[in-house]
Symmetry: C2
Subunit: 236 residues, 2 copies
Amino acid sequence: MGGMNALKFGTANLEWFLGLEPPEIDLILAAAKLRRFPAGSVMTLQGDPADRLMMMWTGRAHYSFETPNGEKVILMWIRPGEVFGASALASRPSTYLTNTQAVRDSTVLVWERSEIRSLAKRFPQLLENTILIAVDYFSWYVTTHTALVSKTAEERLAQVLFGLAKSIGQKLSGGIEIDVTNEEVANSANITPYTASRILSKWQHQNVIRKGRGKILLRSPERFFLRADLSRQVSP
Amino acid sequence: MGGMNALKFGTANLEWFLGLEPPEIDLILAAAKLRRFPAGSVMTLQGDPADRLMMMWTGRAHYSFETPNGEKVILMWIRPGEVFGASALASRPSTYLTNTQAVRDSTVLVWERSEIRSLAKRFPQLLENTILIAVDYFSWYVTTHTALVSKTAEERLAQVLFGLAKSIGQKLSGGIEIDVTNEEVANSANITPYTASRILSKWQHQNVIRKGRGKILLRSPERFFLRADLSRQVSP
DNA sequence: CGACTGATTGACTGCCCTCAAATAGGGTGG
DNA sequence: CCACCCTATTTGAGGGCAGTCAATCAGTCG
């Protein structure tokens, strides 16, 4: 990572370096190796020793795991600038809690556990920022748990689309497009692809979405906010 | 908290002070105020500014929240020695993500946000240990999410009882007793009290539990491990 | 133009929720 | 010690949401 510097990120969300000076950031970046992962590859495997911390550089990924019954569960999506595999920071060696899977061809910054731990010792701000991120994750989890317990399949699906629109949606004339398959949104909302298809078909008839293979166009994201009943949500 | 020292804890789980020297621990403890909460009182309220970090001293509590539909969801239980309200450590002011409710009359150590943040600056080990705890929480969450998505009401209830037996169970001749109401276990397993009652009645007929009002006696906890199908669980 | 993967649709099933009403503990005060 | 009350718990009947299974349809890419 020699010569790479923080400015190259443009608008990306570098929450993990919050409060650090550019020279410090460059120092930390210089300790990482850049690695390439093809679409579909698993970057961290649930249960493996957490011996690397990584930061998404380009591409797209998500956390996921499989239930004992073989259903796939998709959790949060990971965008450039976001760190994952932060279990590696823990003082006691631990394991990765979920899979992290590249969804597009991706490049990722990789720090070895010992390396990133000594950097964290030198810059405790990294620990603070990790806690900040953990709080965000817990917040997401409370929202998701609430949805699982008290919302219908349709509401959960609307909530997922609304969230995806915000995080990986692309503004197009006519709405916001998210390129995901039915199976992906189904696994994110924890419903079956059959149910997902039925609901999406209904929404298409109602003209709130337009579908293609592997693509969904939300004609008006606000509608999904209503459909998800997020107005009654405590903390979005 | 003058004069209170770490040894008074006996066997309690003081993971948060891991790696700190007794004099350092005493220093940190000395900065806290001891506060009393009656059974049933809410110690942190979801959405309130996270301006205090606390440690359970005596008694019992749990995290919980209410869904927009008014269902109560009980998350983890909190035992003496465990910290909660750790959102207060975040560098950016944030809010509590869930309620924390005393289940028994309790005493709690309370640090003001500014106080505990300056202590954390002096002893970054506290930040490391907080991350360690966060990893445990995420692990719990993955397990719970898996249960919600792929297990039946009966399996989830067995899993809850097994977990409660480990954390707040009391060894008695004849089994392990946990003193919780049907409603509490129902809210922990995310089922209705009606379903909980039916399943518990069935188990009583099968002689794997014995029930009293507000008490459940597990005659053999291992049976619940099987019933919860935890053997197929990835990370317990 | 085939072949593969993604998506659709219908028919059926079942788990668990809802609602209503009855029953039982366990503490309290007379 | 017993009657009483409040709360926890039980039990039945019925219904609905979303899952399962099976078969078909449609897009894309070689």
